[in-house]
Symmetry: C2
Subunit: 227 residues, 2 copies
DNA sequence: TGTACATCAGTGAACGCGCGTTCACTGATGTAC
DNA sequence: TGTACATCAGTGAACGCGCGTTCACTGATGTAC
């Protein structure tokens, strides 16, 4: 027999609490999108099975799988955004920039499935990432750009265009690093605590040592080679 | 009625020429993988339709869609590899490095679907990229790493590990740039002729002007803004 | 306190579709004698 | 030169599957009088 349901047979929500299923569906879809080897294969029926309801019940809360996935993106962006703002408490501009990069890479490493959902377009077939996602992503980029400009151009002498370009180059480098590391884990990657100073030395034109001094707690070494 | 076939009804191959269908299937699959908005949706039946044969005929040449896609990857790698070697004719090491980067980005821009097939893992569901692809990709990376080391370390004073790290950072930056530009075309990107000097200035620590002088023909400006 | 009715949260069966894969087949072309 | 047979290059129909979506429904809980 096929496994008709993955969880216990679920007790229906109390009168007036119908919107709870909405949350459960979003969480089930979010979990599946992160966990599935091929998120493109996610179906409405899979989500319903994971939530323990009939496929038809999904339509009470979402017009289709696309609308459900949109809510998943909102959820995931809120999670990453909250983590990124942890870097704001650091003392200086360079510390905050280093903190943002470390948090970004750290979140990507700790949550590869979630990162993939947000930034690699790995969504179910027929579903495109929404306006919501674009808005949240632009916000994240603007904050990173500002953090970089605060270290390279404290007097605000350069143009906004220059700042934007520099921010884009930094973000594409981070994104490229994340995806390349995820897709080719067998290549000889340095630890994040060493990669970030190397990368920021390029993008800030400051010496590696100065940046490395801003890496908190020493997350470094261990798997690094060479003196 | 559904469109049962996309092309003319195809004349069957002559006696002894059966392996021609193999080539036609690879080319049909390659074209579809590049052109489809969602390559993950590619099916064996679609390839058969595009080639003008019955679905069952595919099995005479490939065990399944995965084997067919593997041949597509071989084909695409050979194409990119041939283009990359065009940079070998340039006069100096910096010119060759600049040439490689320009060709890489240029090929990615001119063939976004093909790039996606090779480097973004956008393959049909249930199909994973093969050992063939990994080998060809590693070769490309090694050549780029050597080209970078030839400009930054002509006396070969640094370790292989340092070269490998630097090569990886450069390639991830290029790859990140390509994917970010493809996924977010509305962001204010500079022209490739200006991006490559900016990027290589970071990775070689040479002045932008020296690198820009190596960009052939002046593919620059036009869509660039700011003085 | 009763009772008729409305609302809510969700079900279960059914539909038509495209899919991968199988199997026996067809008809043209070559080869042995 | 004939003719029986083998090989080749495919075909066409069928199968079982999971899918999105629909529709009438069910049974518990609230509300009006």
């Amino acid at each position: 027999m096929p496994q008709e349901r993955a969880t216990a047979p679920r007790t229906r929500n109390a009168w007036g609490q119908g919107s709870r299923l909405r949350t459960e569906l979003v969480e089930a879809a979010a979990t599946l999108l992160s966990a599935l080897e091929q998120p493109e294969t996610l179906t409405l029926r899979q989500v319903a099975r994971a939530a323990g309801v009939a496929p038809a019940s999904v339509y009470d809360h979402f017009s289709d799988l696309g609308a459900l996935v949109e809510s998943v993106l909102e959820l995931r962006y809120a999670e990453l955004s909250a983590r990124m703002h942890d870097a704001d408490v650091a003392s200086g501009p360079l510390e905050r920039l280093v903190g943002r990069c470390l948090i970004y890479l750290g979140w990507a490493d700790a949550h590869p499935g979630e990162y993939r959902t947000l930034f690699s377009g790995r969504l179910p077939v027929g579903v495109a990432s929404s306006a919501v996602a674009h808005r949240s992503g632009a916000e994240l980029l603007a904050e990173l750009t500002a953090a970089l400009a605060a270290t390279t151009d404290p007097d605000n002498a350069d143009s906004d265009t220059d700042h934007t370009q520099a921010g884009l180059l930094l973000w594409t480098a981070l994104h490229g690093l994340v995806t390349a590391r995820a897709e080719h884990p067998n290549l000889p990657w340095q630890a994040t605590g060493e990669l970030v100073p190397a990368l920021l030395a390029l993008h800030t034109r400051l010496p590696v040592s100065q940046i490395a001094a801003c890496v908190p707690v020493r997350t470094v070494s261990g798997e690094s080679r060479e003196a």
